[in-house]
Amino acid sequence: MGMYVAYAYFSMRNFDVRSTELGGDLILPILGLPARVHVIDRPTVLTALTVAILVAAALGAAVYGLVFRPLRHAPPLARVVASLGVFLYLQSVMALRVGQSGGGAVSLRLDSLLPTDAVYIGSARVPQYAFVLLGLAIVLTFVLSLVFRLTRFGLATRAGAEHETGLMLMGISPSRLGFANWIIATVTAGLAIILFAGVSGRLDPLDTSLLIVPALAAALIGGLSSFGATLASAVVISMAAGALGTFQARADWTGDWLPRGGLAAALPVIVIIVAITWRGPKLPMRESLVEGRPPAAPVPYRPVPVALVLGALALMALFTLEDLWRLAIVVSMIAAIVGLSSVVLTGYLGQISLAQYAFTGLAAFSTAKLALEGVPFPWAPLLAIALTVVVGVLVGIPALRVRGMTLAVATLGAAVAIEQLVFASPELNGLSGVPRPRLLGIDLGFLGQGRDSFRPEFGVLVLTALLVCALGVANLRRSSTGLRWLAVRSNERAAAASGIDVRAAKLGAFALSSGLAGVAGALLAYELPALSPQQFIVVGGLAVLALCYLGGIAAISGAVVAGLLASGGVLTQLQGGTTGSTSATQFAVSGALLVVVVIFAPDGLAALAARGARRLQRKQT
């Protein structure tokens, strides 16, 4: 919980600070308030920077006070999800605000401040400002590490990361420290983003937010506690990325299928995951034991009758409602299967994975590719699911050695690697015309002709898959395997000590959960008219975890709720079915809602509803 985590977290969403630089206007990241406030008439770089730094500081204080201070005793999962909420909120609001004021990306130049002449090192051309930036980074690193090593403030911060009560008994307030550290973190990250944008000359919310992956990776190499090591690894990572980019552009053995820039983006991340995995302990140390209560994992209530009733209802809806509703129901059911994959892995076993949607995408692309190559229906999806399980287990290997926040970053890195190496491949762009699934002579395809454009037969296929998956997960929760997984979730050391094979539990959960994600992906391949990489971007994985947490991360009903809430699903259809200009606002609202749920109802909406129902029942009797 120390300062460094805050530091790492924050580079993630601090990109909004950048836009304070525009024409003397300040963009307010609060819904309901005017989009812009005029601050300075004729901003110079210096005054604009000052305003930006003040805004960054205020933002840091606000986020800590409103979100992370209330969550300071919550388990890591809650804090990860809360940061996703903040991320979602800020990103959507900024997209909305910057979009409103013309142009998605904003150009911003600091050329006047930095020398742009080139220097040659060997045959490589390096602009002078690179050295200036590196120098700045070194100075900043040096100052920060001096502050944290030598001052009372730094001592107290390091102490508070370990034992908050100990600090309070010495008369030092942990919240005040928290505020100070968050402000330092946001200002640092804000400055970095401003410099980055100033050099690259463009600002695009998505672009800057994905900077988080290499940044976090660098911080992880530094063990989240060394400024120097973080700086050094950051420099090495970015240089390696540059070199790999050049290498791939020149080498001809890599083939056409490999996306351009794929190696540069993916390899450093993979190397880092391997490095932190290799270094991590097999069992958690004493200081990293989970604190706070994990979300409730209720034993499913009479799964077979409930499944029969809900299944019959869904069947009726599929055959009687109009085709747009049919589409919405199918989308929701597939999303619910993705949700189940998170329930198994994150809910039951407590491993935070941000790669679930990447698994879904992988299965979707492989199914489509295999089917297009002529593999017949039940085999194409089955092969694709098997492949996804293999990849899922590989991605799960880091979980044997790293946990919590670090694992979340490692899986995020894996998702980025899958995206950069596979989805971005030119061979996979715009796959369409996937052959219709046929079983025993029955056409199970989704798209029909004329009025009946979405055929209910495909809905039956999806419903069957969902029911089988849900009943399987319900059975798992009631079995001794499920109990073992829950034991690992609440205390890995104690579980290992009582004879539970933690390795087997983790790899098993990754296999099962990537398999579930794979089922959803295979269905998506037949549901979507065309597949494109944009459908499976990394942010999708964040949204999956967020939605599942909203529904209830450790309950099957939570996955169903997540499916209903999913974009394009039943809730969207209820609201009138349009996803367009309003969706950014929706994202922003759901981000804020997510934070509220994490703080006030950590068991999710499904549990909230169940509790309400029980209370009502008690009142009636």
Partner: protein
């Protein structure tokens, strides 16, 4: 002769965790220069009392005045002052788990605990504890149990407190170490006119250094007396530990 100042005044304290009340109506006073022992079997409410005085736990009922601070919330239903306020008023609480930071060296602990600008404090405390001085530049996580306990006490003293509360000083320590530490505490109380509230399982050792003692059983005081008198009548203490009426 003027009576010594009252540092801690507990009247009718009810304390506990959430809805579970552990301490039911405790009265206790600690004067300056006095060592008071709080004895009793596991679950009697000793640690709960200390944690409540430090404001780590909310007051369920009753009144606690500790130094210049009153723990009763000014507005009913709100939380009163926080632990940082109590600590700053001059209370040093050494909790049962010692509350050390394993990643920091001993000297860093002392620097952090000393008041701003009070550079002499660290040297004074280390001069009084030569055993600690020898290992003070090690990380706390690498110290032995006894060294850690000494560090915890040193950290409490370096802030120049008026009232020191020690929770289970002897926990996990060899008896010989305890017999060094307790007289040290006694000496410091006399020298600096400190009040000391000592929670202890090791009854004879505690009574040997204390002025007065209270025995708690199931959240109530069942026996109170001068330490010297109780030391001579250990049968009564044994009976009180077993919850037998006198």
């Amino acid at each position: 002769m003027s009576r010594p100042e009252v540092l801690l005044d507990i009247r009718g304290l009810h304390a506990g965790y959430g809805e579970v009340e552990i301490v039911h109506g405790l009265d206790l006073r600690v004067h300056a220069g006095e060592v008071v022992a709080l004895l009793g079997p596991n679950g009697a409410g000793k640690t709960t009392t200390l944690r409540t005085v430090s404001a780590l736990l909310p007051l369920l009922a009753g009144e606690v005045d500790v130094l210049s601070v009153s723990l009763r919330p000014r507005v009913r239903g709100t939380r009163g002052v926080g632990p940082t306020v109590v600590a700053r008023a001059g209370v040093a609480h050494v909790p049962e788990d010692r509350g050390l930071f394993f990643g920091l060296t001993g000297r860093e602990h002392l620097r952090l605990a000393a008041r701003r600008g009070d550079h002499a404090a660290v040297d004074e405390v280390l001069a009084a504890m030569p055993h600690l001085a020898a290992v003070v530049d090690r990380k706390a996580g690498l110290m032995s149990g006894g060294e850690q306990q000494m560090l915890a006490i040193a950290r409490a003293l370096v802030a120049r407190p008026r009232l020191v509360m020690l929770d289970e000083l002897s926990l996990g320590l060899a008896p010989i170490v305890v017999q060094q530490l307790l007289p040290l505490v006694r000496g410091l109380a006399r020298e600096h006119d400190l009040g000391v509230l000592l929670v202890e399982q090791y009854v004879t050792a505690a009574l040997a250094v204390a002025d007065r003692a209270h025995v708690l059983f199931n959240g109530r005081v069942v026996l109170t007396g001068e330490a010297a008198a109780l030391l001579g009548d250990q049968d009564r203490i044994a009976r009180s530990y077993l919850g037998l009426a006198e």
